[in-house]
């Protein structure tokens, strides 16, 4: 065992660090460069930074050269991202495009389309989003209803998508639709990419519990999409979506703070009824120990993923484990932190609350994290069926025409 880079990795990491030190400020506390997805100013800064990265050859190094990458092993991309975390740079705008849209284009688009769309994405000149979920199709994505009807060499699309991150600032989006409701659920789907500025697309932000609006509802009314923008065959939409979701699973990472470090720090600052700091209270100590062990476990699991990547292997189910554990840990730690603060734990003004309201924010943010990008329940199914090989549930929706599947309405 050896937690060090290989010589080549070490050398590359050094290059990255040198370049970052020259071009960015080290991160102190929270990022000062806005990461809010609804900030147009933040967007401008982010685009500039992404272009700079691309010019220096640090953007998507694992992409083929002809599509704006460097054709290098993915470990270099990971190393770059690790190093970037220590710097005060923007993020959160291009992940979906580069992580989910680009791969599906590379696999299914024409050579011409790849040349046209991937490089601008890598350079941050064009932003992409993903239009999959619908009000009636969340965990059960294949239950989607957005209708696509072919008219000549165009498709006319009607329906609603939801939970679309960044739809309002995206130039393009990937889209899965139902071209034939009389076919079986998974057989009647067709996949496209669409110009988000097309007539008939209306975007409404969704406000979350936490007050933020990272997601949108997207309404399609007679939106026309050229058949040339179809990815995969007509009826192949499910297979194309699955591949995209696989990439999402890899992308979905851990949770934001507070984590074990933050609750430990809080417990050192708070005095309990006995006049001692909370960290001297065994009930508090044992809870924190349990969270630390989970956090350390996830960190070491990341090291195992790194090991696989550095060997050119594809990682296993680590991402599913990480998401289930970290989202629930965030909710538990946030709630516990507010409890430790006593009656005043309900005070939510960051300006006057310990740790800048981190625990109160986490309390409101955690519920969404247990749901978005795969619910606890779906991820447990994934682990049980794909990793442990347990049999799937009984299906009543698979082998009949989609429009005859019970919907309750």
């Amino acid at each position: 065992m050896d937690f060090n880079d290989t010589p080549q990795e070490a050398e590359f990491r050094a290059q990255v660090r040198a370049w970052l030190s020259k071009n960015a400020k080290p991160l102190v506390g929270r990022p000062t460069v806005s990461r809010r997805l609804d900030s147009t100013e933040g967007m401008a800064i982010a685009k500039e930074w992404q272009t700079k990265k691309a010019d220096a050859g640090f953007a998507c190094r694992h992409f083929p050269k002809e599509y704006g990458g460097q054709g290098r092993p993915v470990i270099e991309t990971v190393i770059y991202e690790q190093e970037e975390e220590d710097f005060d740079v923007p993020s959160g705008f291009f992940e979906i495009g580069l992580g989910m849209c680009a791969p599906v284009l590379v696999q299914y688009a024409t050579e011409e389309q790849k040349q046209r769309f991937v490089p601008p994405m890598v350079r941050g000149e064009e932003v992409w989003c993903q239009l999959f979920s619908e009000p009636g199709a969340g965990s059960d994505l294949a239950g989607l209803r957005m209708r696509a009807e072919q008219q000549g060499d165009e498709w006319v699309v009607n329906g609603q998508k939801v939970w679309t991150s960044g739809a309002h600032y995206s130039d393009w989006g990937i889209l899965v639709t139902r071209h034939d409701p009389t076919l079986a659920k998974h057989k009647g789907l067709t996949f496209f990419f669409v110009d988000m500025k097309s007539p008939g697309i209306e975007i409404r932000p969704i406000r979350q519990i936490s007050g933020g609006s990272n997601f949108n509802e997207v309404y399609f009314t007679n939106v026309r999409i050229p058949d040339a923008q179809r990815l995969g065959q007509v009826g192949e939409g499910w297979q194309v979506s699955i591949i995209t979701l696989m990439n999402e699973r890899l992308a979905v990472g851990g949770a934001p703070p507070p984590d074990a470090d933050e609750i430990l720090r809080l417990a050192c600052q708070i005095t309990l009824e006995d006049g001692q700091p909370a960290i001297r209270d065994t009930a508090v100590r044992e809870r924190i120990a349990e969270w630390y062990v989970q956090a350390a476990g996830l960190e070491h699991i990341r090291s195992r993923t790194m090991t696989a990547l550095s060997r050119g292997q594809t990682p296993g189910p680590e991402a599913s484990i990480t998401k289930v554990v970290s989202a629930n840990k965030l909710q538990a730690i946030s709630s516990f932190g507010t409890d430790l603060m006593g009656v005043a734990g309900s005070l939510s003004d960051p300006a006057t609350t310990l740790e800048q309201g981190l625990f109160q924010t986490g309390y409101l943010y955690a519920p969404g994290l247990r749901i978005a990008g795969g619910t606890d329940e779906i991820l447990r199914n994934v682990i049980a069926e794909r990793v442990l090989g347990l049999p799937g549930d009984v299906r009543v929706d698979r082998d009949r025409p989609f429009n005859e599947v019970p919907t309750g309405s």
Partner: protein, 385 residues
């Protein structure tokens, strides 16, 4: 054996429930959440019209002289409806502390106004982050003047009178202050549950009188909190029930994979567990209600201290689980602002922290059990005989 509310109490419960259904649908707490009103005037008015604040106040002080079982059934319904009113501060805390410790004059002066809702009262104890201790009180009462900062004070921005836990030369006391008087400044503060208003109150030599004969204010606070704990627990029980009902309805009507999600064991067993939590909480709450109903301002029932702590511990956990798993059951829609799920999630946390959180009540429960260790010891000897 009759461990149940009587018909009149059940009728009162139904009446309160129907009234709140009509006057306080979820749109009302949402209006308070999103707007600037400190509380829902019309709901508070409706409670006054049904004489709810007067429930447990003796008739000679302008009350209607019902018992605490009646107040408990009202509390359960208030919790269920998320009613955004100063009821708990004014009735469970201010009114009850005056009933517990007030002098005859103080009772005569304040209780009738509190009973009719002409005056809103509250109780100020928290002094910001950290534990509250008898010798750690920064707020002081000296020669009739109160000085210090209390934060957060529930309904502190709208209350007209306030009972304040303060230090004094004789140790902790409960001091009664007119919040409209001089030396009082208040600033609304934001909490995780904006459907209930809170304030930071700064006392700068505010005129205050000791409640009743004074005496050990800390012990008085403990007795007050044991009584209030039952009433807060009843509100939490109502909230936990509302969350479970919401989750069950959604699980029956929402389809995925061609079947109601409530037919999947992941959801089904989650909801069964919430039901079990709620039933354990209900049993502890109703027992606490009984213990409270058999207590008087003069004499606390021997069962109250344990029963109150148990009710709080059970309902804090039950409401927390029900509120967060109700969101989870709703999936995507559950964490949107438009869904009502978060109204309960916010309230569950606010009520969990009130009067001190689970940690405090668990330790208080064990203290109470140790006090009755003699009994345990004795059993132990028997077991070993």
């Amino acid at each position: 054996m009759n461990f149940d509310f009587d018909d009149a109490q059940k009728a009162l419960k139904k009446q309160t429930r129907d009234m709140l259904k009509a006057v306080c649908p979820p749109e009302v707490p949402r209006r308070i959440l999103e707007g600037d009103e400190p509380y829902a005037e019309e709901v508070w008015r409706a409670l006054i019209d049904m004489e709810a604040p007067a429930t447990a106040i003796p008739e000679q002080y302008g009350g209607i002289g019902f018992g605490y079982l009646e107040l408990c059934v009202i509390a359960e319904e208030l919790g269920r409806s998320l009613a955004p009113t100063p009821f708990s501060s004014s009735v469970y805390l201010a009114t009850d502390s005056i009933l517990l410790a007030g002098s005859e004059e103080q009772k005569q002066e304040h209780l009738p106004k509190l009973a009719k809702g002409e005056s809103i009262g509250t109780f100020a104890y928290s002094e910001g982050t950290g534990a509250l201790t008898a010798d750690g009180l920064a707020t002081r009462l000296a020669s009739g003047k109160l000085t210090g900062v209390k934060n957060p004070v529930p309904d502190g921005d709208v209350a007209s009178i306030c009972v304040v836990l303060a230090a004094s030369s004789d140790g902790p006391v409960l001091a009664l202050v007119d919040l409209g008087g001089e030396g009082v400044s208040r600033r609304p503060v934001e909490t995780l549950d904006p459907t209930r208003s809170h304030a930071e109150i700064t006392f700068d030599g505010a005129p205050a009188e000791v409640l009743g004969a004074g005496g050990d204010g800390w012990a008085l606070k403990d007795r007050l909190f044991d009584r209030a704990a039952v009433l807060f627990a009843m509100e939490q029980l109502g909230g936990a029930d509302a969350c479970l009902a919401m989750a069950v309805d959604y699980a029956k009507g929402r389809y995925a994979f061609g079947r109601p999600i409530g037919s999947f064991q992941a959801i089904k067993h989650k909801l069964a567990d919430l039901y079990i939590n709620n039933e354990l909480a209900r049993a502890n709450c109703y027992y606490g209600a009984w213990a409270l109903s058999t207590s008087t301002p003069e004499a606390t029932a021997p069962e109250l201290r344990t029963a109150a702590a148990a009710a709080r511990v059970a309902t804090i956990e039950a409401y927390h689980q029900a509120a967060k798993e109700n969101i989870q059951t709703h999936g995507g829609i559950g964490f949107t602002w438009e869904s009502d799920c978060h109204l309960y999630y916010r309230r569950s946390k606010l009520l969990a922290l009130a009067l001190g959180g689970a940690r405090v009540w668990k330790n208080r429960l064990i203290d109470a059990l140790e006090a009755s260790t003699a009994k345990v010891e004795q059993r132990a000897e028997l077991a070993h005989a």
